[in-house]
């Protein structure tokens, strides 16, 4: 009888019950306030999307439509695709903690690896939502993409790797919670296959995302095989930086939860290394564009990017990336900074700013200005686009919050309950 009860408590279903209970029915007032705030923002974003931006599709109205965005035939992709690129990078970097924990067996990383997985889940949810609001006919896309895949189209490959990576990370997070909440260590028979499959997929999602852009002859500034490596390099800076900030917040608000300083410090090594590689790639691209190139279209687009002739914010963002990137590297090298938690968090904030500047509009927009026939139509996102983008981010954050809470609880049960395991 006791054994049956034991098994029931250890079942996967009861783990899902545990997650729901922890996520929805326990928590402080602050937690509920945050969740409700995010839900309201998300609902407003969805309202804008359904009732304004996609009104002709969802409610058949004559007014509204994607014409309410600043996108046009010259600049067909805008803010949504820009942030899509950024969050793919953040998702890819989630695996870094997993590699440190499960491949190299770092005792401190094992305690926090699950947050990398949850970050990947939340980031990919933002990614998929941004694609959903960007596509003109999302329901048709859901029906047709599995039926009529075109394996020459990188969008299909991206869809495949993104959904696979999402599933992998979701499974990993649930399994981790499942074992930790029963105060059991993760079994090797789960860890080994997970890391073997998930690590290449992490690189894969960002590589395929870069492949969407880099193989197009019509857009010369994207047409560089350095795009995918640069994406991955800066992803490994921004993802861990965001993760460190999230861990710090968790440490502050959950008393029992403690993160070893070695996690902060070792992650900083990766951030600084990745930033150096990313900056080096930018430097290499500058040489390619300005030294010998006689390709007029590429030069014109690069001038738009570096000097912002018609869209000043592009140049601002690019120099923000270079400036904050170099600043973060220098700060990270200084011993006064990398030996204190506060210093490492500062470097993380610098890194996030730098990579947001590097991997959003600065990637997408220069490919369209000037356009294929030399037309210059400056793109400034409308408030509607910004609102919908924020709404989709709110959904992602909400997912993060709802998954991180049970995960924290499970980690605390396993590692910090004072039973003296570790």
């Amino acid at each position: 009888m006791e054994e049956v009860q034991e098994r029931e408590r250890g079942g996967l279903l009861s783990t899902i019950g545990f997650i729901i209970r922890e996520a929805l029915f326990t928590g402080s007032l602050r937690y509920y306030m945050a969740a409700i705030g995010l839900i309201l923002i998300a609902l407003y974003g969805l309202y804008l999307w359904i009732m304004v931006q996609h009104a002709p599709i969802f409610i058949g109205s004559d007014i509204g439509g994607m014409i309410t965005t600043a996108m046009n035939d010259s600049v067909p992709w805008g803010l949504y695709v820009s942030f899509f690129v950024f969050w793919v990078g953040v998702a890819a970097a989630g695996i870094l903690f997993g590699i440190a924990a499960y491949v190299f067996g770092d005792k401190e990383y094992i305690k926090v690896a699950i947050f990398g997985e949850i970050q990947a889940v939340a980031a990919i949810i933002i990614v998929l939502l941004l694609i959903m609001v960007d596509i003109g006919r999302p329901i048709r896309a859901l029906i047709l993409m599995p039926q009529l895949p075109n394996l020459r189209s990188m969008l299909d490959w991206d869809f495949i790797v993104l959904t696979t990576y999402l599933t992998l990370n979701l499974i990993a997070a649930i399994v981790t919670i499942h074992y930790y909440r029963q105060d059991k260590p993760l079994p090797r028979k789960f860890l080994v296959p997970f890391i073997i499959i998930a690590a290449p997929f992490a690189i894969g999602i960002h590589t395929v995302t870069a492949f969407i852009f880099q193989a197009l002859t019509a857009r010369p500034i994207w047409n560089s095989p350095l795009m995918a490596p640069r994406f991955v390099a800066t992803a490994f800076a921004s993802g861990p930086a965001l993760l460190l900030l999230a861990l710090y917040i968790a440490e502050r608000y959950v008393e029992e939860f403690k993160v070893s300083f070695s996690v902060y410090k070792k992650t900083l090594y990766v951030i600084v290394g990745a930033l150096i590689v990313g900056l080096y790639f930018t430097f290499s691209e500058i040489q390619e564009i300005y030294w010998y190139t006689t390709e007029a279209a590429k030069k014109a687009q690069a001038e738009e990017l570096f000097f912002g002739l018609h869209i000043p914010y592009l140049a601002t963002l690019l120099w923000l990336w270079i400036g904050f990137g170099i600043a973060a590297v220098i700060l990270g090298i200084l011993p006064q900074v990398h030996n204190t938690k506060k210093g490492i968090l500062t470097v993380s904030i610098f890194t996030v700013i730098a990579v947001v500047a590097e991997k959003t509009l600065t990637i997408v927009i220069p490919g369209y200005i000037p356009g294929t026939l030399g037309e210059i139509r400056p793109y400034y996102p409308t408030p509607l686009e910004i609102g919908i983008t924020i709404g989709m981010h709110a959904i992602g954050l909400l997912v993060y919050l709802l998954l991180a809470k049970p995960a924290l609880k499970a980690v605390v049960i396993h590692y910090f309950s004072g039973k003296g395991h570790h």
């Binding site: 996609h54 002709p56 599709i57 109205s61 004559d62 007014i63 509204g64 439509g65 994607m66 014409i67 965005t69 996108m71 046009n72 035939d73 010259s74 067909p76 992709w77 960007d134 596509i135 003109g136 006919r137 999302p138 048709r140 896309a141 047709l144 993409m145 039926q147 009529l148 895949p149 075109n150 020459r152 189209s153 990188m154 969008l155 299909d156 869809f159 969407i212 197009l216 002859t217 019509a218 857009r219 007029a296 279209a297 014109a300 490919g367 369209y368 000037p370 356009g371 294929t372 026939l373 030399g374 037309e375």
Partner: protein, 361 residues
Amino acid sequence: MKARDDKTGSQESNGKNEGVSRREFLKIAAITSALTFISISRDDLMKLLVPVKLEDLLMQNYGGEESSDPLEERAKEKEAELKEWCNNEAQRICRETGEESAACTEARKRCNMIKVKSTPANKGVLFAMALDVNKCIGCRRCAYACVMENNQARNLGIEWIKVLEMPRDREEIEKLDILKANMYYKEAPKPDKVYVPVACMHCENPPCVMVCPVRATWKEPDGIVIIDYDRCIGCRYCITACPYGARHFNWAKPYVPPTEINPNMHILGNVIRQPHVVEKCTWCIQRTRDGGIPACVEVCPVGARSFGDLNDEESPIRRIFEEYGAFVLKPEAGTRPKFFYFFGPRRTPPRKSSLIREGGG
């Protein structure tokens, strides 16, 4: 017959020492080859029996799983749907302007004439278009005719044909560049300008078709690159991939007043579009598949455009190739366009702007 006897004889002597099966095989092979030889030498027979290419048969279904029948079915459905919509619109116009008004009768007439076709590609045809850069005066009548013919949304300002204005003076030679071209000019023709109309190039190697995630766009056997509006998901990847800016998106619900509707429609061409789908030039598929020529060719006041079948030796396109030679835009894109530019016999505006000044006083 003589040839056959000779062949078998010589081969029998060659293969005498080898196995029976080999000899038999050679015999059959020789007979078959001789028979083929006889049949293909009969020129008069060829006039009666037209050769069929396997590729033509296989390419019939290229790009889509559906054969022509479902397409016909869809065209019928679309026709009924459009007629209903059009009649409602016409009803509204009649209520507003009175039953006797010209707008009312025109709208009613056009609504009743709506016909949505699904004409498949003609066998062995490969369409191409050519444009005489020396003749083009940049009047943009082609762009206007295109909007009218192809039921383009009047509320969205979509134009499939863009005309680029570039300087032709030697002093401004560095401005002779697509990147510095002006497509928003107000007056034409100007003596010191050259005009280069650009629309879909109907590439042999179209990047837009490669990138489509749902195979909603493909190259038809007659070379026309088309979009299935019922399949397009509006991701706009093809707009990004096209090096000629030929593809356009319906950013809102498109509207064409019934008084301006072109009732001659093709399901893959100029049916009234839906919101949030991509569209592009189809070389007036509703006309050309039935033996007509595209509206832009027909309307051009200086006859700068020619359209025809590349496989037909009598077609104007072939003459242009032979007499003037053809050029393509952006060859570095490697898309092998089937829209050609050529330099015809005479420049309509004089070569030098100074001549105009002298003549004018």
